[in-house]
Point group: D2
Chain length 369, copies 4
C-alpha cells in the first residue's frame, strides 16, 4: 500500500535508492516451470544501463543481476524470485549542494514534505535508476509470455524534442543509441543532443510500444481495464506526463463511423482501439504511446527555495541523461510485459486456461501508432 | 481482483448492468463522523443523469439513490456505505438485433470471448450507465475532502470534435448542457451536435479537470504515484483513450529550462507538473486532461461478424449519447475525488495526520491546462 | 482495507447493520457460466435464519435474497453478483437502554472508542445478523466447488457447554435444531438449553466442519497458507475464540512418530494434518474445529460503565440466541467454502487448471476430528 | 497474491529458500522518522537463531542481517526497507535421499503436486528457516510500536509435550533455552528433550504471547478483525495447528455470566476476551496461545511413497530441531508485532491519529492465559 508493489497476481516489489548499497526486487506469483537464468535477465538490463553512449548519463553501472531465490536447477519453482543489483559507481558528493535545496522539476520538494526526511543522494528513491529492477522483472514476464502465447513486445522512440522519428522498421531500433526505428534521422538526433548537452539543457521524448501475440480476453472490465492498468504502469515511469492507447488524443476529432474498428471474418480492419475494447484485449496489437518530460537535472541555474523557505538558485551537477526518454524504451516495454502477465494470470484465475488460438485478427501496423 | 473495486483504503465496489434490476456500490473505509444524506449525493447524480437535454440519451432515469447502510442519524459510522439505484427505464427489446452480433467499437466482442456469456441488453456491464455509482461515491469523497482540506474539484469540456472550447470562467459550466466554461461557443456546439444527430454519427471530446486545495504529500512515490493512479482512474472511464497530467504531451517538445516549475517563497511560478512531482502532490492545482472517443453506438451501418464468425452489418438502435463526452465531466470529477481521498488516507496511515496548511503555492490558472 | 471484503480472487464485500434497511454483499470474481438462481442461495439461508426453534432468537426474518446483478438468463456472467436481503423485523426500541452504556462482552465499547459514533440498535454492524450475507455468498461458492470438484462441505455441533456431542452420522444433522450429528443427545441438549433460558444465561459451543473432495495443491505456502486463511475466516465469525486444524491442540502432546501422517500408494494412513501440509491441501478431508463463546447478551445484570465513564449495571433485553453456536454450523461451512474457492482460483492463476483427479487419498473419519 | 506478503499497510514480502544463497524480506510502508540500525534487528534474530543449545538444530547460521535500503543516516525514510541474510551453512547432500520421496508430515508431497517442481534441499521454501526474515521485520515493528505506544510483546513456552510449564515471571524467559517463564521445570525439560533426541523422535509445544500497551480501537470489525488477523498470522507459522485468543477453547463450557468481562471505571475486571471485542482491541493485554506440532523430520523410519507412487520407507537425516516449538517464541512475538503495527496504521488511515491514552484498563495477568 506504500506503493512499491506492482501487480496483483504477478507482483513486483522493488527496493533501493540511487546511492544505497543495492537495488532490486522480489517477484511473487511467477508460474512454476519456466526455464530462467541470469543471462535471460541481463540482456534486457544491458539495453537500459547507463554509460553506453555519450547521449546518456556517464555513470558506469554494470547492473549485474543476481538471482537470490525462486529458481532451482534453472527452473522457476513458483516461490518468490528475488533479484539483486549492487550499486557500484555512486558519487554522492556531487549532491552536497542540494542537501538543503529543492531542485525544480524534481521530487525533492514533495519527498521532503511527505516524509520529513530525504535521501538526497542522486535523488534517492525517486531516481530513474529504480527502473532497473523493473526491467529485470519485465524480462521474466516477457519470457513467460513469449513461451506461452508467442507474445512480442517492442518499443521505439517516436519523437525527440521537436524532431519526429517516423517508424521504418523494427530492425533499426537496436542499431542506434536512441531506439529509433529509422536509420535516416539518427544523424540529426545526434547533432540535436550534442547541441543540448553543450548548453546544459534537456528535452522530452515520445516512446511508442507495441505488443503482438496477445490472447483475446485479458483485462478486467470495470476498473482494472487493461488500458487503465497500462496507463497506470506507464504514468508510473519517472517523467511520464501523458499516455495514449490506440488512436489516443486523435480520437477527439474522429467520428464514430471512423473510429470504431470494423470486423470481418479475417479480423479487424483497423486498430483505433489499440487492441483494447471495454477494457479487454481484442487480440490485435496493443499500441501505447507515452510522453516523457525533459530531464529536470540541468546545468542551467534556476530559482528555487531551501528548506527554510528562503530563495536560492540551483544548478544541478552530477551525471545525468540530457533526455531521460532515450533509455525509456526498454522500461516501457518491461512495464507493458508486467501488466500483460498479470492480466493473463487474472484471466486464467476467473475464466480458466487462456490461449492465443482465436480467430485470426489483422494486426495494426506499428507505423500508424 | 476481478476489477470491480476502486481504491485501496477508500474502496468503491460497484455492481449492476444497464438493464438489470439495479446498479449501485459499496464504499468501504469512509472516515466516521461525516454528515451525509441522500441529497448530498443526488446533486452530483443529477448532473450526470441522462435525458436532461436533446444532446444526450433520451433514456429517462431519475437515478434516485438510496443509502442502505453505514450512515446512522445522518452521520457516517465508519462501516460500509451501500448505495442503491434502481433501473426504471430499460427497453431491452431495442437490443434484440445484437444478441448474435458484435457492434464495432463496443465491448461485445471482448466480453463474449472473455466470459463465453454476455448480457447484451444495453451493453450490460460495459454500459456507461455504470458510471452513476461512481458519481455517487465521488460525492461522498468530495464532501469529506472539502470539509477536511477545502478541496474543490471542477471540470469542463475543452474540445468537442474539431471545436476548441477555450476556458473563460467556472461560472459558465453549469449554464449549458455541454459543461463548457465559455458561453460564446455554446451555440456552435448545439448546431454541431444537431447536425451529427441527423446523420446518425457521433464524435469525441476532451475534458479537463482541476483540483485545488490539495495538501502537499499525497501519492506514493514508486508505483502508486498520484498521477499514475489518476491515469488509471481516468482511463477506466468508458471510452477514454488518453490521459495527460499538467503539460502532458506538450512536454515532449519542451526544454528542461522551460518545463521545470521554479519555486519562490511565494510558491511555484508555473505548473507544468500539473501539481505532481515524483508522484506526490505539490499543493498546486492538479490538472488533468482526457480524450474521450466517439460513441460506438451509431445508426450508420457498419461491417461486423456474428458469433459464428460470419460477416454481417450492424446498425445500433436504442437510445444513446451522440457524444459520451458531454456527460463525462461529473464522472471525471468524481474519479479524481476518489483517487484523492484514497491517497489522503494512505498518506495519513504512513505519515500521520495531513493538513493543507503548507507554504502558499501559486495555483496554475485552469485555462492554461 | 476497512475489513469488509473477504477473499482475494473470489471476493465478498458485505454491508449493512442489524436494524438498517437492508444487508447484503457483492461477490466479485465468480467464474462465468455457473447456473445460479435465488433458490440455490435461499436453501442455505434458511438453515441459518432466526426464529426456527425455541432455542434461537425469536426475531422473525425471512431472509429472502434478491440477486441484483451478475446473473443473466440463469447463468453467472463473470460480473459482480450483488445480493440483497431486506431487514423486516427490527425492534430498535429494545435497545434504548444501551445508547449510553457498553454491554460486557460486546463490541459496544470498542466501536465507540474506534469510531466515536455507534449504531447501537441490535449491535449495528457487529451483530451476528451480518453472517447472513456470508451464508448467501458461501452458497454460490459451494455450488461452483461441487460442480467443479465434487466438493462437499459439512459441519456439526460437537460440544454444547459441558455436553459432548459425539459424531454418529451426517444424516442426523438436519433432524434437530442443534446440528447435532447424533440423535441420542438431542433430548439432553433441549433440556440444557431450556434450563439456561430460564435463568437468563448463555453458553458456548464447539463446531466441527469437514470438507471432502478437495484437489491437492490449494493454498499459498508462506503467509496465505490454506490453514492460515481458514483460521482467519473462522476467527472472523462473531464470537469465535479458537480454531484448530486437524489434530489441533492435541498435537502438543503428540510425538513426531505419531503425528506425521504416513503415506501408502492407497493414500494417507491418518489425517492429523487435517488435510493441509505446509499450507497446501493434501487432497484429504480438511477438518476444522472452532470454539464459540457464550452469547454476551444475557438477562443477568452485570457491571459496566457508561460513555461518561460512570459505573452502571446492564441487563440486555431484545431477542437473542442463548447459544450463538447453535446457528453457527451453516456459517462455518460457508466460510470454509469461501476460502476454498478463493484458493482454487488462486491456484489456477499461478499453476494452471486444477483437477481433483489425483491418487486416491484415504479420508479421515469425521468423528475423530 | 502468491502468499509471500504479509500485511496490508505495513507489508513484509519475504523470499528465499533454506539452502539458497540468501533469505530476506522487503518491508513497505514503515513510517518515516524511526531510528533504526542493524543492531536493533540483530538482537531479535539472535534469540531465534539455530545452534544456540543442544536442544535445537546444530546448523550454524550467524543470521547476520544487512539493511539494503530505506534507512538514511540511521533514520527510516518511508521507502522500502530491504533486509538480507546470507545462508552460510547449507549441507544439501544430507537431503539426497528425499529427492524422489515425500517425507510424512512435511510439505514435500503438497509442493510437488502444486508446482510440479521442488527445491528439496532442507525443505526449500517450506523450511522454518524462513521465519528469520519475519523476526527481522518484527523487530522493526516492535521498535515503532514501543516508541509510539509503549507496547511490549512477550512470549513464553507454556507446554512441552506432556509437560506443563506454568508462568512464574517474565524475568526467567531469557535464562533458559526453552523460553520457559519458570526456572523450576527447566531441568525436567532438559531431560525430556535429551531422551527424545536419543530415540530420534520429536514433540509438540504450546507458546503463549502477550502484548501490553495497546491502544483501544485497533482491528477492522468484520473480516479483518484483530483476532482474525492474529489467527491468520499465527497459523501461518510453520507447524502451528491451533490458535486461541483469550479464554480460547475454554469458552465453550463457560456461561455468558462468567465469560463476558465486566467493566468498572478502573477498567475491565477480567480478560476472557483476550483484549479483543468485536474484532477491535479493548486496550487490555492481547493474549494468544498456539499449538505447535512435533517436528516432522525424525530419524524414525516411516512409510511413504515416491514420486512414482511406489511405497518406500523414509528416515530424515540432516540437522533438525527435535521440537520446533522451542525456537517459536520470538517468531510468535514478531508476528503479533507485525499484525499490530499493520492495524495501527489502518486505524490511523480511517479514523485519524491513534493514542494509547485511554481510560486505565486492568491488564489480565499472563499466567491466567
Amino acid at each position: 500500500m506504500a506503493g512499491n508493489t506492482l501487480g496483483t497476481l504477478f507482483t513486483v516489489t522493488t527496493f533501493g535508492e540511487s546511492h544505497g548499497p543495492a537495488i532490486g526486487c522480489v517477484i511473487d506469483g511467477c508460474p512454476p516451470g519456466l526455464a530462467l537464468n541470469e543471462a535471460d535477465i541481463q540482456a534486457d538490463l544491458d539495453r537500459r544501463k547507463p554509460g553506453t553512449s555519450r547521449h546518456v548519463t556517464q555513470r558506469k553501472e554494470p547492473d549485474t543481476v543476481e538471482i537470490l531465490s525462486g529458481v532451482f536447477e534453472g527452473i522457476t519453482t513458483g516461490t518468490p524470485i528475488a533479484l539483486l543489483i549492487r550499486n557500484t559507481d555512486q558519487r554522492s558528493k556531487d549532491y552536497g549542494n542540494i542537501v538543503e535545496t529543492f531542485r525544480p522539476g524534481h521530487a525533492d520538494y514533495t519527498y521532503w514534505h511527505k516524509y520529513g526526511v530525504r535521501d538526497y543522494r542522486g535523488g534517492g528513491r525517486s531516481s530513474a535508476r529504480l527502473t532497473a529492477p523493473l526491467v529485470a522483472a519485465g524480462a521474466v514476464a516477457r519470457k513467460w509470455l513469449n513461451e506461452k502465447f508467442g507474445t512480442q513486445i517492442r518499443g521505439y522512440m517516436a519523437q525527440l524534442g521537436e524532431i519526429d522519428v517516423p517508424f521504418v522498421g523494427w530492425e533499426h531500433v537496436r542499431n542506434n543509441p536512441f531506439f529509433a526505428a529509422n536509420p535516416d534521422v539518427v544523424g540529426r538526433l545526434e547533432t540535436y543532443m550534442d547541441d543540448l548537452r553543450k548548453v546544459g539543457d534537456s528535452v522530452g521524448a515520445r516512446i511508442n510500444v507495441v505488443a503482438s501475440g496477445i490472447p483475446v480476453g485479458l483485462g478486467e472490465p470495470l476498473f482494472d481495464k487493461l488500458d487503465a492498468e497500462i496507463a497506470y504502469a506507464m504514468m508510473g515511469i519517472n517523467a511520464v506526463k501523458g499516455v495514449e492507447i490506440g488512436a489516443g488524443f486523435a480520437c477527439i476529432a474522429q467520428k464514430g463511423s471512423e473510429h470504431g474498428d470494423e470486423l470481418t471474418p479475417a479480423g479487424f480492419l483497423s486498430n483505433n482501439a489499440g487492441g483494447v475494447l471495454g477494457g479487454i484485449s481484442t487480440g490485435q496489437d496493443i499500441t501505447v504511446s507515452i510522453a516523457i518530460k525533459p530531464t529536470s537535472s540541468i546545468r542551467t541555474p534556476r530559482r528555487s527555495i531551501d528548506k527554510a523557505g528562503q530563495p536560492t538558485m540551483v544548478e544541478t551537477f552530477g551525471r545525468h541523461d540530457p533526455c531521460v526518454g532515450i533509455r525509456a524504451t526498454p522500461i516501457a516495454e518491461a512495464l507493458l510485459a508486467l501488466v500483460l502477465i498479470d492480466h493473463a494470470l487474472r484471466h486464467r484465475a476467473q475464466c480458466g486456461e487462456v490461449s492465443v488460438d482465436t480467430p485470426v485478427i489483422a494486426a495494426r501496423a506499428p507505423e500508424s501508432t
